[in-house]
Amino acid sequence: MKGFVVIALSLLVIGCSTTDAQDRDESLADEGVRLQENDQTIEPYTEQTIAEEFNLDQDTIDQAERERSKSSEITPASITIPTLDINAPIVEVGQLDNGQMGVPDNGDDVGWYEPGTKPGGIGNAVLAGHVDDRTGPAVFFDLDELEEGDSILVTGEDGEELEYVVERLESYPFDDSPVDEIFGSSDTKQLNLITCAGIFDRDVGTHDERLVVYTSLIDDEEDEELQPSSPTELTVQGTLLTWHAVREDHVAGYRIYSVDAEGTETYVASVSQTERKAIQMTDEQENYIIKTIDYFGNESDAENVTVAE
C-alpha cells in the first residue's frame, strides 16, 4: 500500500533564521525513542497482500484507501502543544525553487507543507516552525523538550481537532535528512514536526542540524467504524459450507477456519467477494467459523456454524 504523495525533495533544508541567534548545542543523540511496531495484522498463514489473497485489483484497493483517508483529513488552522504551552496559527507553505520546503515568514506561525499529506490523512503530514528568529526564541524553540507520548493537537479550519502522540525525536545533519521517511508515503497517519537544531553555522547561514519530531494520529474511531459485518446464513448443504455475502463497501472476501474440539482454529481457505460463497468441507471438523475481511485488512467478528450430524 503506497501512499499517494511522492515528494522528490533532494534536500531537506529549512531556512531557519539567518542572523544572530543563540547557538544551541543540544544533543539529541540519546532520545532513544524507537518506532513502535505498527499494528497491522500479518496473518500467520500467508504473506500475501489482501489483493493477492482475494484476487483483487491492487489499484482498486489503493483507491479505496485514498478515499477512506480523505474522510478524516482536515485543512489545519492551528497547532496546540499543551506540554510546551505552544498555541500557534498554521499557514500553508509550498516548495521553493531550490527544492526546499517553504517556511513561514515570521517566528510565530507554523508552516504546513500544503502539496503533501493533509493532517488526518494516510501518509506523512509535515509542519515546520522556526526555532528562533532575529530577536530570540521562536515558536518551536522548545520542541526538543518533547517526549514520547506527549500530545500534539491540530485544529482544522472548521474546528475539527486531531490528536497526535509523539513517537520519537530525531536530529539529522542539515544537508542529510531522510526526506523520504519524513515526507514520503506511509501506511499510517503521521504528522512530522520540523525545526532547526544544533549550532548556527554562519558560513552556511543555517543551523547545522534539523530536529524532526515524529508523531502518529490517535485514531480510535477507525477500527470500530470500519470493522466489516460478519457473514450471515451460514449453512451446511451436503459437503458444502455456504453463506450470504456481506453487502458493504470494501469487502475483500472471507476467511474460513475450522475449529476442533479443543477450540483450536485452523485456517482453511480464503474466498473472494467476487467468488461463489461456498467451500467444500474436506475434513471431519465439526465446527467452522467465517470472518469477513475488508480491503484494509480489518476482520469481522467470527460467525460460527456447526456441522449437523
Binding site: 484476487n55 448443504q237 451436503g238 459437503t239 458444502l240 455456504t242 450470504h244 455475502a245 473472494s272 467476487t274 467468488e275 461463489r276 460463497k277 461456498a278 467451500i279 467444500q280
Partner: protein
C-alpha cells in the same frame, strides 16, 4: 420459496440419445411408457415453452444492462418461437401455425418494448407495452380455445398465461430494483410454471385428437416423472450458464444465482432421496457439488485470472465428476444405465455448459446462444432418458394406469402447489419402498469421500 414443487425421481440417464442404449433398455418391450406419442408432445412443449421463459428472462436482463449479447439473446428467443411453428402446423395446419406465429412473435416484441420503457423510465410507454402484453394473452387464450375446439377454454388459458406474464415481469422488475432474491425465486417458479402450461396444453390437444396419439395420454405417472426430471435438469443448465457469466462479470446478482443453483441441488437431492433414501441423496449431493458446481466456479476464476494450470485442474475435476456420476447412475439404476454411456452424456452436457460460457466471454454471442439452445434441448433428452430408465427399472410403479384416475388439470391453478405430483410422490413412497430396499449400492461410493 416453495420447496419441492414437484415430485422427482432423478438419476440422469440417456436413453434417447444413444439408440443402441435405448434398444438395450427396451429389448423385450414394445414401447417405453415415457415415450408415448402423447408424452412426446408434452415433452416437446415442456422444452420449447420453458426455453421461451429462460430466454425471455435472459434477453430482458441483457437488454436492460446494455449487454453486448443482448441482440443474440433476442434472436435466440425469436428462434425458439419459430421452432414451435412446425409442431403447431402438424396439428392445426399451416394457417393455424401462421396465426400462432403472428400472435406469439408480437408478444416477444412487446416484451422488448417493455424493457426499453423501463430502461428509459418512460412510464407511459411502460404502461402501453404492459397493456399490449395483456391483450396478447387474451388473444392467445382465444387462439388456443379455437384451436383446441374448446377443450382448453380461453378463460382457463388466459389465467395461466397471465400468471406467466406476471412472473416474467416480476422477475425483471425485481432485477431492475436490485431485489435479486425475489428475482431468482420468481425465476424458479416461473420456469416451473411453464411445465404446468405444457401439461394443460398437451392434455387439451390430445383430448381433441386422440387418434393422432394412438390413444396415449400425456398426464400419466411416467409422463409426470419425465416432465419433472426435465424441469430440474433444464433449470440446472440454465442456472449454471447464467451463474458462470455472472461470476465472470462480477455481477451484483451473482450470489443470488448461485443461491438458486443450491436450491436446485436441494430439489434434486430430495428427489433422489425420495427414491433411493437419504444415503443415496447424500451421495448424489457429494458427487454433484465439489467437482461439479464448485469446479465450474473455479473454472470461471481460472479464466478470469488467466491461470492455465487452474483451468486445467478445474476441467480435470469435471472429468472426475462425470466418471463418478456415471458410476452413481449405473449403481442407482441397477445397471440399466451403463456408467460409460452416462459418463459420456455428462461430458457432452459439460461441454455445452462450458462452450456457452467460453464463447460468451470471447464475444461470440451468436455462437454462445447457439450452444445454449443445444445444451438446453439436451437436458430434455437427459430427462426423458432418465425417466425411462427409472420406469423400466420399476415397472410396477407405472403400469397400473387403469387403477389410477385421470389427473385433473392442476396446471391451471397458477402458482399453487400441484397436488397431483405430491399424490404421486406419496403413492410411490408408500407402494414402492419395499422394492427399493437394499438394492442401491451405497457402499460403492464411500471410497470417494
Amino acid at each position: 420459496m416453495k420447496k419441492i414443487k414437484k415430485a422427482f425421481i432423478p438419476v440422469l440417464s440417456v436413453a434417447l440419445l444413444t439408440p443402441t442404449f435405448a434398444q438395450t433398455i427396451h429389448a423385450e418391450e414394445s414401447m417405453s411408457q415415457v415415450n408415448t406419442p402423447a408424452i412426446e408432445l408434452r415433452g416437446t412443449l415442456d422444452h420449447l415453452l420453458s426455453e421461451h421463459f429462460a430466454l425471455a428472462v435472459l434477453s430482458m436482463q441483457k437488454q436492460y444492462d446494455g449487454d453486448e449479447g443482448a441482440q443474440a439473446a433476442q434472436e435466440a428467443l425469436e428462434q425458439n418461437a419459430a421452432d414451435m411453428k412446425p409442431a403447431i402446423a402438424s396439428l392445426y395446419g399451416d394457417e393455424g401455425a401462421e396465426e400462432f406465429d403472428r400472435i406469439f412473435s408480437a408478444h416477444n416484441d412487446y416484451t422488448a418494448e417493455y424493457v426499453q420503457a423501463v430502461k428509459d423510465e418512460d412510464t407511459a410507454a411502460q404502461e402501453e407495452a404492459s397493456a399490449m402484453l395483456d391483450s396478447f394473452y387474451v388473444e392467445f387464450g382465444e387462439f388456443l380455445e379455437t384451436a383446441t375446439e374448446g377443450t382448453l377454454p380461453s378463460d382457463a388459458a388466459i389465467e395461466v398465461l397471465d400468471v406467466h406474464e406476471q412472473q416474467v415481469e416480476d422477475a425483471f422488475i425485481a432485477y431492475v430494483e436490485g431485489d435479486y432474491e425475489t428475482a431468482y425465486m420468481t425465476y424458479r417458479e416461473g420456469l416451473s410454471h411453464m411445465f404446468d402450461i405444457s401439461a394443460a396444453l398437451s392434455d387439451a390437444i390430445v383430448q381433441q385428437n386422440p387418434d393422432q396419439f394412438e390413444g396415449s395420454v400425456p398426464l400419466t405417472a411416467a409422463g409426470d416423472l419425465r416432465s419433472d426430471v426435465s424441469n430440474l435438469v433444464a433449470e440446472h443448465f440454465a442456472l449454471a450458464t447464467l451463474s458462470m457469466s455472472k461470476e465472470f462479470k462480477e455481477s451484483e446478482d451473482f450470489d443470488f444465482v448461485s443461491w438458486a443453483e443450491d436450491e436446485n441441488t436441494a430439489d434434486l437431492k430430495a428427489t433422489i432421496s425420495s427414491v433411493y433414501g437419504e444415503e443415496g441423496g447424500e451421495q448424489f449431493e457429494q458427487i454433484w457439488q465439489g467437482n461439479h458446481i464448485l469446479a465450474q466456479s473455479d473454472y470461471v476464476n481460472a479464466v478470469k485470472n488467466d491461470d492455465e494450470a487452474a483451468k486445467e485442474e478445474a476441467q480435470n475435476r469435471l472429468g472426475t465428476f462425470a466418471d463418478e456420476f456415471g458410476m452413481f447412475l449405473e449403481t442407482a439404476t441397477d445397471g440399466i444405465l451403463p456408467a460409460a454411456d452416462a459418463t459420456e452424456l455428462v461430458n457432452m452436457h459439460e461441454e455445452q455448459v462450458f462452450t456457452t460460457f467460453d464463447r460468451y466471454i470471447e464475444g461470440d454471442y451468436d455462437g454462445s446462444f447457439e450452444k445454449y439452445r443445444e445444451g438446453y434441448a439436451f437436458t430434455f433428452d437427459i430427462g426423458a432418458g432418465l425417466a425411462d430408465a427409472i420406469v423400466t427399472q420399476n415397472p410396477e410403479l407405472f403400469e397400473e394406469e387403469a387403477a389410477v384416475p385421470e389427473m385433473p388439470q392442476t396446471g391451471m391453478g397458477g402458482t399453487s402447489d400441484s397436488g397431483m405430483t405430491l399424490q404421486w410422490l406419496a403413492w410411490i413412497l408408500a407402494g414402492a419402498t419395499a422394492g427399493f430396499v437394499g438394492y442401491f449400492g451405497v457402499r460403492r461410493f464411500r471410497t470417494n469421500g
